[in-house]
């Protein structure tokens, strides 16, 4: 049995009946569109975040880069690492050589395992070694150009030593421009993956060629490690920019 109080309460509730706003259905549709937009945007953002995070890790895994062993987190996926790794992708592929080199190009090139720095014995912008000179940090930024050949069936990861990253970066392209150049335009590492062994030879033989460049502070030496597999020991090379210029 309902008490008088309950009956009064019930009557009050029923008397409080009101019609909903006339635009209720319109407002629901508006909310629904907003929800769909929000969910779509969130999905795109998540996909982009996964792509940005996965790319450097995949590169590092393929190249046996030390970054592969590092945990993925805010400390290891900073803007510097992201910018250094992600744009290296265009150089990372099979590019059979196309007729730019002389027939005896290997004689005048520096060999580092399966990697050839073309014409280096003429230009001398890079040499084997692990002890950069003491003359770093002086002068302005200069750009050097280099053609790198990689034997078929091989890969190589070129990583700038942390001590040289403040004045040396790779350029992903053959840049003959005249500056000005900024370090932020370059990369701290490059990964070069040559063609499979069965690929028909190009004009320069069974090598894949890459037209690359580097930014370096004039008068300085930069230590770079060349690693050809995850298990192989890295081979140190030193890039140099003499006061007379970085290229011929």
């Amino acid at each position: 049995m309902m008490s008088d109080f309950e009956r009064r309460l019930r009557a009050a509730m029923i008397a409080a009946s009101e019609q909903p706003p006339a635009n209720l259905m319109q407002e629901i549709r508006h909310r629904h569109r907003r929800h769909v937009r929000r969910v779509s945007f969130a999905c795109v953002a998540v996909a982009a975040a996964i792509a940005i995070t996965a790319q450097p890790v995949a590169h590092a895994l393929r190249a046996g880069h030390p970054a592969a062993a590092r945990p993925v987190g805010p400390a290891s996926v900073g803007p510097a690492l992201g910018s250094s790794m992600a744009p290296a992708a265009p150089a990372d592929g099979c590019q059979p050589s196309v007729g730019a080199l002389a027939p005896n190009w290997r004689d005048s090139s520096l060999q580092v395992g399966p990697v050839w720095f073309a014409y280096d014995r003429v230009q001398r912008y890079v040499h084997l070694g692990s002890s950069p000179g003491d003359h770093r940090g002086a002068g302005q930024l200069e750009v050097g150009v280099m053609i790198v050949e990689v034997d078929y069936g091989s890969r190589a990861a070129l990583t700038v030593d942390p001590g040289a990253q403040s004045y040396f970066r790779f350029l992903n392209g053959f840049d003959n421009g005249s500056g000005p150049y900024a370090l932020s335009a370059g990369f701290r590492s490059l990964t070069l993956v040559s063609c499979p062994p069965g690929t028909p030879p190009g004009d320069s033989g069974r090598v894949s060629d890459y037209y690359l460049g580097f930014i370096i502070k004039m008068g300085s030496d930069a230590l770079v490690e060349v690693r050809t597999s995850a298990s192989a020991r890295p081979i140190p090379v030193i890039f140099t920019c003499l006061r007379t210029g970085c290229d011929t």
């Binding site: 008088d4 109080f5 309950e6 009064r8 309460l9 019930r10 009557a11 009050a12 509730m13 029923i14 008397a15 409080a16 009946s17 009101e18 019609q19 909903p20 706003p21 209720l24 259905m25 407002e27 629901i28 909310r31 629904h32 929800h35």
Partner: protein
């Protein structure tokens, strides 16, 4: 009220059309319920109802699969109002207006004032207790149905309802609920319990 009406929304009609039909048929009841659940805050009630109906629209086919969607939407409304109240419970409660505490009895104006005072007292209750009273007295649900809607036991519903009614009686004051059978008036006008 037509709370128990069975309508078929699972036929060949598109989900959108059946949803619009449902909104057209039920929105007045649901809006009033939202008003009561939010303590007659119109903006809150509209926001609550729109949010709940939008979520219902997203899952409309699934909601309609079990027949009449109104009980489910009602449940969504109650849960959403309780969630909303939990988020806002740090806000200060609004005390009942002193002028409304002792309405005069008898005429239509006092009846309106009495209802207003009851609804204010209802709005001052915690959301869970308010939901129990709205489901019991506005939606005419039994204690078992109320318990099913709220996802709690019948005993809990009884306890919540008793506490809510006691709290409302205390807010409204004894003068608002005269019970002649148990009270007597002395010649000097004093009211005492027998």
């Amino acid at each position: 009220m037509g709370v128990g009406d069975q309508r078929d929304f699972t036929g060949a009609e598109g989900a959108s059309a059946s949803f619009e039909e449902f909104v057209g048929a039920s929105s007045a009841r649901l809006y009033t319920m939202a008003l009561l659940l939010t303590g007659r805050q119109r903006a809150d009630a509209e926001d609550l109802l729109q949010g709940v109906l939008e979520r219902a629209y997203r899952h409309w086919r699934r909601i309609c699969r079990n027949g009449d969607p109104e009980p489910y939407v009602r449940q969504m409304l109650v849960h959403a109002s309780v969630d909303r109240w939990r988020q806002r419970r740090r806000q200060r409660e609004q005390p009942l207006a002193a002028a409304a505490a002792n309405p005069a009895a008898g005429d239509q104006a006092s009846e309106i004032a009495d209802r207003d005072m009851l609804l204010r007292a209802l709005g001052a209750l915690p959301a869970g207790q308010r939901a129990v009273l709205v489901l019991r007295y506005f939606c005419d649900l039994s204690e078992a149905q109320t318990a099913a809607t709220l996802g709690c036991s019948v005993g809990s519903v009884k306890k919540q309802a008793a506490r809510a009614l006691a709290s409302m009686r205390a807010s409204v004051g004894p003068a608002a609920e005269p019970e002649p059978s148990t009270r007597a008036t002395r010649g000097d006008g004093a009211v005492f319990d027998e």
